[in-house]
């Protein structure tokens, strides 16, 4: 499972950081109620307080609560995939820098709220819902119609 998960993992960590495909369940000690989103926000807040590149170990030390090193790496990798942090290789590991300002962090939070929504049961009704492939063609035809009229 470990190897299969690692091949799916979007980021290739260096060998010594080899991360299991960790969800919240990977660390048995952590209480279930602390969601992924909250942890991402915490890690990002710590990273922002670093005023420069920081190692995963530094982030782990400055986090409240005892998170496993691998968990911290997983969260950082996830933030990297979302373009919220940048990283640079330093020796055998990475140093991480926050790429988000306060507004970016707020946007991350908001996106997380919206990602939890399903189209059919949405609480926050969005401006546009999902399109089917057939809809896409119909819609392009309709929009072409509006621009034709504009040109008349």
């Amino acid at each position: 499972m470990d190897t299969a998960g690692a091949s799916h993992h979007p980021l290739n960590e260096l060998p010594d950081d080899n991360v299991p495909p960790a969800g919240p369940a990977s660390d048995g000690r952590r209480p279930r109620k602390r969601g992924q989103g909250e942890l991402e926000a915490q890690v990002l807040a710590v990273l922002r307080s670093a005023n420069g590149p920081a190692t995963a170990g530094w982030v782990q030390e400055h986090l409240d609560g005892d998170l496993a090193y691998t968990t911290v790496i997983t969260i950082l990798s996830r933030l990297y995939a979302k373009k919220c942090v940048t990283r640079a290789r330093q020796g055998r590991s990475y140093t991480w820098t926050s790429a988000s300002d306060e507004a970016g962090l707020a946007a991350l939070r908001m996106r997380r709220v919206l990602d939890g929504e399903r189209d059919r049961e949405a609480v926050l009704a969005r401006f546009v819902s999902a399109l089917s492939p057939g809809d896409e063609e119909r819609l392009r035809a309709l929009l072409a119609q509006t621009t034709e009229k504009d040109e008349d």
Binding site: R111, V113, L124, V128, A130, L131, E136, L142, T146
Partner: protein, 313 residues
């Protein structure tokens, strides 16, 4: 009570023709109000009847909290059909309450989480909150005061005029408190799954309603159509928004909204109905709702009377 107690459980089916036709023939404002009212009434009647069946059901359980007289053979004889159904109703009613509770819980939680995310945005306060996000989205967050939430990606894909249309659309949601109609019909669909199409219809008609309000506010139907169409196409490119099942779908809501905006303003009149189909569907829904209400009233009265007779007070 007899068979009447079962009627409100199936009569929500009478609302389906009007749910289908309202979207084509009624002004979205009228459609939303009509469908939400019909759906809520039918759901309440259905739940009342379930509750009555449940009371009969609990009477057969040992250690029930009902008065002893309830178990008398005369009383049993007065409620002939409901013995087995009563036990089933206990389970169903519990399921309905759990489902409704979960829906309300999710609403409250989502709104709290969105409000928290909004508060963490440094630039405050403005009626339109813009989040720096590469994924396009826009929605109205109800509250006091309600706020329009938009991502920068959504803003960037629209022209200035279309942006105004988008904001006017979302503000129309807030002003007319569309979230209440949506929640009411979601709960109705939880109470009786036959009402699910009504929920979908109301979700669509509130969007159409806001589209019409926006078109009126900025005085340009085509700009609203352009905003809806472009935003949908742009959002479609982002992989997250991919629909789960699409191949055999009928024309989706977005092309219908755009097509409706390219037509003239729909008539606001509710009477006389625009066609014989609408008149007939309206009649069916009205009769269904009335019979449903009367049946549950009849069942309530019967039950109260039996309860009264059986209680030695």
């Amino acid at each position: 009570m007899g068979v009447f107690v079962y009627l409100p459980l199936v009569l929500p089916l009478t609302a389906l023709p009007i749910a289908r036709l309202a979207e084509q023939h009624l002004h979205p404002r009228s459609a939303t109000r009509l469908l939400a009212a019909v759906g809520t009434t039918l759901a309440l009647c259905s739940t009342v009847c379930l509750a009555l069946l449940m009371v009969v059901g609990t009477a057969q359980l040992p250690g029930n909290p009902l008065p002893d007289g309830w178990a008398d053979p005369e009383v049993r004889a007065a409620v002939p059909y409901e013995e087995r159904a009563g036990v089933v109703a206990i389970g169903v009613l519990v399921a309905v309450f759990v489902a409704c509770g979960a829906t309300v819980h999710r609403h409250v939680r989502q709104r709290i989480r969105a409000t928290r995310a909004l508060q963490s945005l440094p630039s405050q306060p403005s009626p339109v909150a813009v989040f720096p996000d590469p994924e396009p989205y826009a929605y109205a967050l109800p509250g006091a005061p309600g706020r329009v939430v938009v991502s920068t990606a959504m803003m960037e894909c629209l022209t200035a005029r279309e942006r105004r249309a988008l904001v006017a659309h979302e503000q129309a949601h807030l002003t007319a408190r569309h979230h209440r109609y949506l929640l009411a019909t979601q709960l109705a669909a939880r109470a009786n799954p036959f009402l699910l199409p009504l929920r979908t219809a109301v979700a669509y008609s509130t969007e159409r309603w806001a589209d019409e309000e926006a078109a009126q506010a900025i005085g340009d139907r085509r700009a609203v159509a352009g905003a809806v169409g472009k935003a949908a196409l742009f959002a479609h490119r982002s992989p997250i928004a991919a629909p789960a099942f699409a191949a055999f779908a009928a024309v989706g809501p977005i092309p219908r909204r755009v097509a409706a905006l390219l037509e003239p303003v729909p008539p606001t009149r509710l009477w006389p109905p625009s066609s014989a189909h609408v008149a007939f569907a309206g009649l069916v829904a009205t009769v269904g709702t009335t019979v449903s209400a009367l049946s549950s009233l009849n069942a309530t009265v019967t039950l109260v009377r039996i309860l009264h007779e059986a209680t030695p007070l």
